[in-house]
Symmetry: C2
Subunit: 457 residues, 2 copies
């Protein structure tokens, strides 16, 4: 592993801050140009880091950046995946500094400083660790792997066009393992290695009532108010024990046996009291019969991600809105299929609504759950890399989040993925004041280099 | 009754269009200056119509316009109430023409044309009928009543400062009857006279969960999502039979006996099929055991007026929002007290929420229900006035809306109110494309003059 000099640390950080200034919000089409500019910037940085070639590949949506360095055809090949697009930053008023004007601030958890910006941790900061780890090994001529980069711009909106790219470029993407840094560590002293991801089904529902907004005095009591109907539908999705009520929802869920569950709990350093304290809540809530750690990793869930309808301004307006909407997503676990679950969601809602309203349901995107096989060369090299960097063996842990592209890599390319993430749970990804620790950034660069060292042997 | 010449019709209409151009939205404090300008305009128009004096009275909120003409101290005095403020116009994208740029369009229901603008019917158009009816009688020297006008700017936000004005000006406001045009006719051929109003309790609830927005993958399933909790709270407010579940809610509701209910139904020209058709709904919905007409007039109700939380933009965002909110109002019937009902609402919600969330509840405003006594001189004169104008006796009908100031007039000034409204249910008050029929406007001017004629006898 090539040590990073203080001069290099400063250079790498300055470059990352430049990367973070692009408002590459994939969900909002008005940022299309910014995504194009970000892709160009990433492509340029791959060449500067030492790639033989790099290209910006147009899609129906935002472009994909591809770059590669073939050191020796006989060496093993690592395919690195990441994304340069970011989540929308709103609510903007809760940011302490503007989301696309990165600042470094020290925090209790990050005494050496953290970079505050949208995308700092998810995923620009982690993508940049890869580019810099690769650069160091090229410069020091100790890279014994071939490396291919594919950095896309639509991860936060479902990777629809990326999937087509994969399907059409199987040969180009030929490799031995996929490496992704888009997850987290439990903490910097006792690192975790992510060995599973939940799947995702993201839906949007619009409840439609009368043909126009109505005066709630003149009409109140006579028709089904779409906002009340929406509340009732949402409530009908989860019962009092925290179970999701959609018929067939749990049919394909693999139950993990008691001894394995106990082992996971014992190995983890999860503490429910610190968890509650960190979120400022008096109590947790979830599916009966499971611990908080289990609820966030090995069990499926359903959450409202957004809800809106009627008058939401200052003061009061006595209106019955003609429509009300919600975005609702479900996290899935092995062996739930996201398409099947999305269809069951639609069927169930259509079966429970009365004649007095109608609904329109949109499937936004989704992905299946994923489990990393613990007996592969890649997994073993990752364990060694963590040990080299941190001095301790990492704890294998399932992550509650979803990277829908990971099970897709397995299906289309036949490649397993190593999830080597360096963010912390408290880094507020997808929230205001997202940040990424400087120490995490540099430790990530070290660990990735160590991985190449072991994998190239 | 003084006939309105074609020349006068044109003049009156041009003046009203000018009145409608002011964006006098009382709920939004950024329109404060516009409300001041509207008040000045109303005051000037009262003088031009023939008032002896007129003043714009400052309050802690928006000003009140007062004007009077004392024809003879021995004549009976009519106190006219109305409001120059309007409901917020949003959603703006549903308006066919800008809400504060009035246009005249013919419609199926208004073949002679209707004025499309926010406030056309509620209540600027109806206020202006009063000013013009008064003007005609002054000009023709056949006004045998004294007239006092009080036109306020906070009706749509609860009339809080107007109440103080009433309490402090009992002598100034001394009168025999109050006349208000802020309700409707069932249709132009068989007019209705409003003999009751529902009360109102308008609440806002904010559900608070974790101390920040969270990633729904990392945290989904472990905490009570405020948007899901809000949906559950809303659902808990009404049971499957359409009854409101707040303990004590119905305690003071006066049950109307079966024969009276049948009489109301028989006298009305309400048709549930046309009602459904006009709203574009397949079915009505409401409290079990009551007809649609009863549900909208003699029964209390509860409706969500607005709901919001989380990500509501384009595409998807996998977030659990730290807060979710709703505006909820209840319409009340005799003898429910709005303050008591508001308190019961708060108590009930606080009793049902679990430890895993907290709530903040705001009382926005409210008012008690009102019933017009049918044996008064004012009521009898109103019946005669309608008969003169329309050639048929009006049908007495309870209105589902609320004018919280009406029961307050009774309590503070000891004065009964005659509700002489000329809008139609289909005029989309509080909705996009609010309008007011030109024929309704001129018939209103005639009927008000007829009322003065009878009341001044």
């Amino acid at each position: 592993m090539n040590k990073i000099s203080e001069q290099q640390k400063k250079e790498f950080l300055d470059e990352l801050l430049e990367f973070l200034k692009f408002p590459s919000i994939s969900a909002d089409s008005s940022y299309k140009d910014d995504l194009n500019k970000t892709a160009d910037w990433v492509s340029k940085s791959l060449i500067e880091a030492g790639c033989d070639s790099s290209e910006v590949i147009k899609t129906k949506g935002h472009p994909i950046v591809y770059g590669e360095k073939i050191v020796n055809k006989d060496y093993p090949t690592v395919l690195v995946y990441g994304h340069y697009d970011v989540q929308p930053p709103d609510p903007l008023n809760l940011w302490k500094s503007p989301p696309f004007e990165p600042v470094i601030e020290k925090t209790e958890i990050h005494p050496d400083g953290a970079i505050f910006a949208r995308g700092a941790c998810d995923d620009k900061g982690q993508v940049y660790m890869h580019i810099k780890a690769f650069q160091l090994m090229v410069q020091n001529q100790n890279l014994n792997c071939n490396v291919k980069f594919m950095i896309e711009g639509e991860e936060e909106v479902g990777s629809n066009n990326f999937e087509e790219f994969i399907r059409n470029n199987k040969e180009k993407l030929n490799a031995d393992i996929i490496l992704i840094s888009d997850t987290g560590l439990s903490n910097i002293n006792s690192p975790t290695l992510t060995v599973g991801l939940r799947g995702l089904s993201y839906m949007e529902i619009k409840v439609i009532g009368p043909n126009r907004d109505l005066h709630s005095g003149t009409y109140g009591g006579t028709i089904y108010n779409p906002a009340n109907a929406l509340a009732k539908i949402i409530t009908s999705l989860i019962d009092d024990t925290g179970k999701i009520t959609i018929p067939g929802f749990y049919d394909d869920v693999i139950d993990i046996d008691k001894s394995k569950r106990e082992e996971i709990e014992d190995k983890s350093n999860f503490n429910v009291d610190s968890f509650k304290k960190s979120l400022g809540i008096n109590d947790v809530k979830g599916e009966k019969g499971y611990t908080t750690l289990e609820r966030k990793s090995i069990r499926p869930t359903l959450d409202v991600n957004g809800i809106w309808g009627g008058y939401t301004g200052e003061g009061s307006k006595t209106v019955i809105a003609s429509e009300a909407s919600a975005k609702i997503s479900m996290r899935l676990v092995p062996d739930q299929d996201w398409n099947k679950i999305s269809d069951l969601f639609i069927e169930y809602i259509e079966s429970i609504i009365p004649d007095s309203i109608s609904v329109e349901i949109i499937k936004h995107h989704g992905g299946s759950p994923y489990v990393t096989p613990e007996d592969s060369k890649g997994y073993k090299c990752a364990i060694e890399a963590y040990k080299d960097t941190f001095g301790v063996e990492p704890i294998p842990q399932k992550d509650g989040g979803s990277i829908p592209i990971v099970p897709m890599f397995d299906e289309v390319l036949g490649l397993k993925t190593i999830l080597m993430g360096f963010g912390l749970d408290s880094d507020s990804i997808h929230s205001p004041n997202e940040h990424f620790g400087l120490k995490n950034f540099y430790l990530g660069i070290d660990t990735i280099q160590n991985f190449y060292k072991h994998f190239g042997k």
